[in-house]
């Protein structure tokens, strides 16, 4: 407080009037009137939305469908035998079947099968819709991860979150519209949360990296070198100099925009740390997520942070596990460890969203860039499998306790009610009130959209 005591009354009043530096947020009204000219201002969707925001839980590396959600008795029965049909091209695995080392059982009223790897999540199956017939392009991570995030396995395209931000804007101008928690640096890296040709403002703000939240800071948010008081004094003079500049120029949208963005920056600087502060949660909540437990702590923090960000108005939040699901060998160890790390936090996220009444209009999507082969790689691993895999969705307009689509008897190829990543994207946009064929952006001589010329809304999984 000592710095504030040094300020005289006149200065304090001036600061308050500017709405700068956390002293006051009274400047908000001012900015709301300007919202129309701002690219992140909330926009009307194409139709009545069922979901207002998205939390995407990205299981990077490719979790195995036949070991988590898609039990295959034939696979167990013919363990060690030859796959009776052709495997996919360009893979390392040999066509020898490898059964799941885990037991499956039915859960919930809906009777959804879940393996013993996910004891917490299996208690939520009545909230979930499991899609067992996903398929995608890209036999390697780079292609498939980009496909999942941008709808293209080869070309540079905007990410899903960027499209959503572009389509809907954000409700809270003091926070970014799109946040990506601990995104990977490889496999496309920033392309997966980037904007390509969309305006740069729609790019995700990132916190942490490569599956690790780190100190959970937004870059350059806050200054370690000078005191708050000193910075507030700087800001006062800065904006005065800027306003004088604008006055001299008489009319300049650039300069006007810059002045506004400086103001918004400092609103963010005061609002964001509070949202990022997990200590504001009760001990019970923290424990429910698994914070403090060595195994679950990292992912639990990410899940809880995702909830806080969503609650505060962030439109699209992605959480990434880091590339941990890629069990070319040691399937058992790897999947066990990954499940232990993520099962409880994700279950807690669903509970928490539900308790707060947020699940109804928050679309939760869980999935990897592909699944894994039911045939063996090395002695105890599985290779990549974009030919058929499982994701699940919950909340915002999704059918509850529902399973959709099927793979073949061994869980290799999606054969029934196949859902391509383009279809998933179309469906996600649909739930958010956006028509994927109408959410366009004109660039380099053509109108681009997330689903390119593909994609069908999967109405069957919508409540």
């Amino acid at each position: 407080m000592s710095h504030y005591q040094q300020m005289n009354r006149r200065e304090l009043l001036k600061l308050a009037a500017c709405g700068l530096g956390g002293v006051s947020l009274s400047g908000l009204h001012h900015s709301e009137s300007q919202a129309a000219s701002q690219p992140l201002a909330p926009k009307s969707p194409h139709h009545l939305p069922k979901a207002k925001r998205v939390i995407f839980l990205f299981m990077h590396g490719g979790p195995s469908q036949v070991d988590l959600f898609d039990p295959k008795p034939m696979l167990t029965k013919h363990d060690g035998k030859q796959l009776p049909f052709e495997p996919a091209k360009n893979i390392d695995a040999v066509p020898k079947l490898l059964k799941s080392p885990w037991k499956f059982s039915q859960h919930g009223e809906c009777g959804q099968w879940v393996s013993e790897l996910l004891p917490h999540l299996s208690q939520h199956v009545d909230e979930m819709c499991v899609v067992r017939s996903m398929h995608s392009n890209g036999q390697s991570h780079g292609q498939a991860v980009c496909m999942m995030h941008t709808g293209s396995d080869n070309l540079v395209r905007p990410s899903v979150g960027a499209w959503v931000s572009y389509g809907l804007g954000t409700d809270n101008p003091a926070l970014p519209s799109f946040v990506s928690l601990s995104p990977a640096s490889g496999h496309g890296g920033p392309r997966n949360y980037g904007t390509a040709f969309l305006p740069a403002i729609h790019q995700a703000t990132t916190i942490g990296r490569s599956g690790k939240l780190g100190n959970a800071r937004i870059q350059y948010l806050g200054n370690q070198k000078i005191t708050k008081y000193e910075q507030q004094k700087q800001l006062l003079l800065l904006q005065e100099i800027n306003r004088d500049h604008l006055e001299r120029l008489q009319r300049d949208e650039q300069v006007k925009g810059a002045i506004q963005s400086i103001e918004l920056a400092f609103r963010m600087q005061s609002a964001a740390p509070e949202v990022l502060d997990l200590a504001q949660e009760t001990k019970e909540t923290q424990e429910m997520y698994g914070i403090g437990n060595k195994t679950t702590d990292n992912f639990a923090r990410q899940c809880l942070l995702a909830r806080r960000l969503s609650e505060a108005g962030v439109r699209y939040v992605e959480i990434s596990t880091g590339n941990v699901w890629d069990q070319h060998s040691n399937l058992k160890k790897g999947h066990e460890s990954n499940s232990l790390k993520t099962d409880q936090p994700i279950a807690a996220l669903l509970t928490d969203l539900k308790n707060r009444g947020l699940l109804d209009d928050t679309l939760v999507v869980w999935g990897g860039e592909f699944g894994r082969t039911p045939i063996v790689q090395g002695t105890n691993g599985r290779d990549h499998n974009p030919q058929g895999f499982t994701i699940w969705l919950a909340g915002g307009g999704i059918k509850k306790g529902f399973a959709y689509g099927n793979t073949d008897d061994y869980g290799y190829y999606a054969i029934e009610n196949r859902v391509h990543i383009h279809d998933l994207h179309a469906t996600m946009l649909h739930l958010l009130g956006l028509d994927h064929t109408r959410l366009n952006y004109r660039y380099a001589g053509r109108d681009f959209r997330l689903t390119d010329v593909y994609g069908n809304v999967v109405h069957e999984i919508i409540a």
Binding site: G142, Q254, V324, A444
Partner: protein, 981 residues
């Protein structure tokens, strides 16, 4: 009908397949309901009972007339529909199931239909049978006709940008003509007069010098430069300044960067596999030098497309031209795509897009899948050019399994360098060959010996694995199918235990296999549980293993056949990667105990073999020592470039229907855009890609786009708005020129000036239109708010580089020397390709921003936040955004604060601690002008009130410096600093 049948079959009876086709044709005609053959009856029955219901159930949703948008332009609700077929051609070849696209799609071979899932096997069989029977289809309704939009090239040519340049200079008389007006100004004035607007007066000198500095060299003027210019009363003060700046080597740094934006230049691949472009910087320097030398632009174009194919007079020229083709190479690619033909076509696509946009302002990508919807570019034009790039070698080899890498070409070197390297390579090869032969001898001899003294090898696949080990095959030289590494994580939690079962109790030499490397741990604990207890040995996994490059011995230990023994590799207390691959036990003979009872004959053989070993070992040692010595004195490696080459097989390219390479349409002869041809069909030989001809066509003075596009780019960089505002798009969806005559005048003059960039720049900056004030005038603003007609100068935000470089320059930190390779220390990848990698670690440098490494996916925030060009795409015009993150960076980044500190020290040293002097000096340094009275008052107030000033002089200085640094910091973050008036 019968007659027709006969006629056809007689005429073509020599060719049986044609006969079949003819028969089919006649059957087809018959099936239209005239008379019915016996087979047709079966066919109709099958159609009605199975096929029609299946079509209705599975296909009509997307392929029938009552849908708004029919998919793939294919109708399956009439016979005529499938006969004509969709975009991929006829869907069914009656009688030939194997040639019918429809069946291929139903079988999910290539196209996958229906997309929601495969049809039941029986249904697919029904279709097969029905097609076999001639695909009799009684639905004789006319197929609704989709009128395909046929591109009319002739009509396309009437579009303004495809019209030849109007080289006649229109006679423009402006009544209030002044001698100071240049030709450019007359064009501008003429337009303004039409709406009764007047151009602004010339800007003041301080504004002008700042504008010129930033526009020509991307740096701010020093306060002393400003003073000199302001006080220079000579007539040619301005043109002198222009000429000085055009001659500065910093000119190429600034203008080269403009081109690098267009060339989507980067020092790494980005995408899925962020491989380092170790030689990319040579292309960067080529561009900078070309601008500094004022290389004629037509030559610049030719070199970048076909430099490797051009004649040369010297090795330097050869090298320069080869490096120039880096333009085709530096795009981002999905290197790990496992479908290599797909990758190849994607690379071709990237090159076509870049060449199209960069040189011609054409968006060609659209034509990959279908005729361009807006511009006169048919798909065939795209594949005519695709043939050229598909016959060009961009990728070559793999850097890891499934991961492609790019073509590298040796550059000509100095003769002495070349000779030294040749000599070295020869000696080295001989030595290596020698070593390899000797090693083979040794191996054979050892194997014979080993036959007698047993060797036990245990691979990781037999080991007991604890913790999360990652299986890998990336580094070569491992035992078995793979090796394991600990991902450099979970230290202390992971171990690999190799169980040992020996049949003979004896002393064994224990050897450990690993794949070495600099990032390996140098103190891996290896625990050996043997007959006498436990021993822990620390193993350094960085050097090459000594035994056969596979194993390193960790000592000799006794083992008993009836006792459990193990060797365990752990990652406890280690840093770096720990490798676990295999261990080997080699029985050691001791005097006490011979290895095995050998027969006399065996013993004799053993001793003989053993004797043979010694001289081989000695010879090997000598050879290896020699090689080591030789390597130590190796000459510098010959320079290499990221450069294109001709592909070994040259061919035209098929049209890929819908852009899908598996879906082959007709072959297209290699050629260029029909709408902009400068002569008739180019003659491209059978043994050349056609890049040379492509380059000649683009650089042809008659090409309607090339000169227009580049002078428009220059105009845009100097004026702030292109005559064609969409600088990369001169097509239908692009903007129309605001001053078409001016554009043509500039383009024609440019070519007359031998395609000189510098002369064009000089011409523009000397014009009044460039020198105008940017001041606001309400009456003009009301008529032309966007200032399209140039009634004043456009105000522009500085590019990211100028923001960073200015701060460095103003704080006396900027290093103006050119950079070399920005990525010298990086490996194949900029950082490990795991999502757990920390990412690329940036080195600090105070060189100009152009020399910062452009690592895709890892660009410096100060550049990206201020709209640095995304190196993944062609960027002729950078976005200008105002986002809060910019303000956060300016106010909180250590870099800006550090520059403020340095600048404060510099100013204090120069003018002492008088607050007024400090404020004046600060304004002059940062804004190139003195403060106004109000600014002076505010500045002094800020410096004074910031702190209570202590009495001690040393303390006072410190406090002063801090206050001043904070004041400078404010100006760095201000709107005036980032704007160019």
């Amino acid at each position: 009908m019968q007659l027709l049948h006969l006629l056809i079959s007689q005429r073509y009876s020599r060719n049986s397949s044609l006969v079949r086709a003819a028969l089919t044709l006649s059957l087809l005609l018959l099936s239209n309901g005239v008379c019915v053959h016996a087979d047709d009856a079966k066919g109709i029955e099958l159609f009605e009972s199975r096929i029609r219901p299946a079509l209705i159930k599975y296909c009509y949703e997307c392929h029938s007339d009552n849908k708004k948008e029919v998919k793939g332009e294919l109708f399956l609700d009439t016979a005529a529909g499938w006969r004509k077929g969709g975009e991929s051609g006829p869907a069914i070849v009656p009688g030939m199931p194997e040639k019918s696209l429809l069946l291929e799609a139903l079988r999910y071979e290539g196209l996958e239909m229906p997309p929601a899932g495969r049809l039941p096997k029986q249904v697919v069989k029904d279709f097969e049978r029905w097609i076999q029977l001639g695909a009799v289809d009684p639905r004789n309704k006319k197929s609704p006709s989709i009128v395909p939009r046929v591109i009319d090239i002739e009509k396309g040519r009437t579009f303004w940008s495809f019209q030849p340049l109007k080289t006649e200079v229109p006679n423009i008389s402006v009544s209030d003509d002044k001698s100071s007006l240049t030709q450019i100004d007359r064009f501008v004035l003429n337009k303004l007069k039409k709406v009764k607007l007047k151009p602004a007066a010339e800007a003041d000198r301080r504004t002008l010098i700042r504008r010129l500095y930033f526009d020509l060299i991307g740096l701010p003027p020093q306060p002393s430069d400003v003073d000199l210019f302001v006080n220079d009363t000579s007539q040619d003060a301005y043109s002198k300044l222009v000429d000085t700046l055009l001659k500065s080597p910093q000119f190429g740094v600034h203008w080269g960067r403009h081109w690098l934006d267009v060339a989507r230049y980067a020092d790494s691949n980005g995408g899925d596999f962020n491989a380092t472009f170790h030689n990319g910087w040579r292309y960067r320097d080529y561009v900078v030098n070309s601008f500094n030398k004022d290389k004629p632009y037509d030559q610049f174009v030719r070199e970048q497309i076909a430099g490797d194919l051009l004649p040369y007079k010297s090795d330097e020229q050869r090298a320069e031209q080869m490096i120039a083709t880096g333009f085709l190479m530096v795009g981002t690619k999905m290197l790990s795509e496992r479908d290599k033909e797909k990758l190849r076509m994607d690379v071709v696509d990237e090159q076509i897009n870049t060449v199209g946009a960069a040189f011609m302002g054409m968006t060609m990508g659209c034509a990959r899948c279908h005729d361009h919807k807006f511009d006169p570019i048919p798909t065939s034009d795209y594949y005519a050019m695709a043939g050229i790039f598909r016959s060009t070698k961009t990728l070559e080899g793999e850097s890891a399994k499934f991961v492609s890498t790019w073509k590298r070409r040796s550059l000509p070197a100095r003769p002495d360098h070349q000779a030294a390297v040749d000599q070295y390579e020869k000696t080295k090869n001989d030595l290596e060959k020698n070593i390899s032969t000797t090693k083979k001898q040794l191996r054979e001899a050892t194997a014979q010996l080993a036959h007698i003294s047993p060797v036990l090898t245990i691979d990781d696949s037999l080991a007991i694995i604890k913790g999360d080990w990652k299986s890998s095959t990336l580094s070569k030289g491992y035992i078995g199918k793979n090796y394991l590494h600990d991902e450099q994580s979970g230290k202390g939690e992971k171990s690999v235990e190799f169980p040992i079962n020996i049949s003979t109790s004896a002393t064994y030499d224990v050897r450990v296999s690993y794949t070495p490397g600099n990032n390996r741990s140098n103190n891996v604990p290896v625990t050996v549980r043997h007959a006498n207890g436990e021993s822990i040995v620390r193993l350094n996994q960085q050097p090459q293993p000594k035994i056969d490059n596979l194993f390193t011995s960790i000592g000799q230990f006794p083992f008993k056949s009836d006792q459990r023994a193990t060797v365990t590799i752990s990652n406890r207390d280690t840093s770096g990667y720990v490798i676990a691959d295999a261990i080997q036990l080699v029985q050691v003979e001791t005097q006490k105990k011979p290895v095995k009872k050998r027969s006399a004959a065996e013993e004799k053989q053993y001793q003989q073999t053993k004797k043979l070993l010694e001289p081989i070992k000695t010879a090997l040692k000598t050879l290896e020592a020699k090689l080591k010595q030789l390597s130590a004195s190796a000459p510098k490696p010959l320079p290499q470039a990221l450069a294109a080459d001709e592909f070994s097989e040259i061919s035209d390219c098929n049209i890929c229907v819908r852009g899908e390479y598996k879906n082959k349409g007709p072959m297209v002869k290699r050629s260029f855009l029909q709408v902009a041809m400068t002569s008739k069909t180019p003659s491209i030989g059978k043994t050349e890609s056609g890049r040379r001809q492509l380059a000649d066509w683009i650089a042809n003075p008659k090409h309607p786009l090339t000169a227009r596009v580049i002078v428009n780019r220059i105009w845009y960089h100097l004026i702030g708005r292109g005559i064609v505002s969409s600088v990369d798009n001169f097509g239908e969806l692009g903007d129309r020129p605001t001053h078409p005559e001016l554009l043509d005048f500039l383009a024609a003059d440019f070519m007359r000036d031998h395609w000189s960039i510098k002369k064009t720049i000089r011409k523009i900056v000397l014009s009044h239109s460039y020198r105008m004030s940017s001041g606001h005038r309400e009456n003009c603003w009301k008529v032309d708010p966007e200032n399209q007609l140039l009634w004043r100068a456009h105000r522009r935000r500085l590019p990211a580089e100028a923001i960073r470089d200015s701060m460095l320059a103003m704080s006396n930190q900027l290093d103006l020397s050119p950079g070399k390779s920005p990525v010298p220390g990086l490996g194949t990848l900029v950082s490990t390709n795991s999502a757990n990698a920390k990412g690329y670690q940036r080195q600090q440098t105070t060189k100009r921003s152009l020399y910062l490494p452009v690592i895709r996916n890892e660009l410096p925030p100060i550049l990206t936040l201020f709209d640095f060009a995304d190196p993944d795409m062609v960027t002729g015009k950078r976005a200008v955004t105002n986002v809060p993150a910019q303000a956060l960076l300016l106010m909180n980044s250590p870099f800006v604060m550090d520059c403020s500190d340095h600048a404060a020290a510099k100013i204090l040293k120069a003018v002492g601690d008088n607050n007024q002097n400090l404020v004046t000096a600060t304004y002059q340094l940062i804004f190139s002008r003195p403060p106004t009275e109000k600014e002076m008052r505010k500045g002094v107030e800020f410096l004074q009130q910031q702190f209570s000033i202590p009495n001690e002089k040393a303390e006072r200085l410190k406090v002063h410096k801090k206050a001043l640094a904070q004041f400078i910091h404010i100006l760095f973050a201000s709107t005036e600093f980032r704007m160019q008036g």
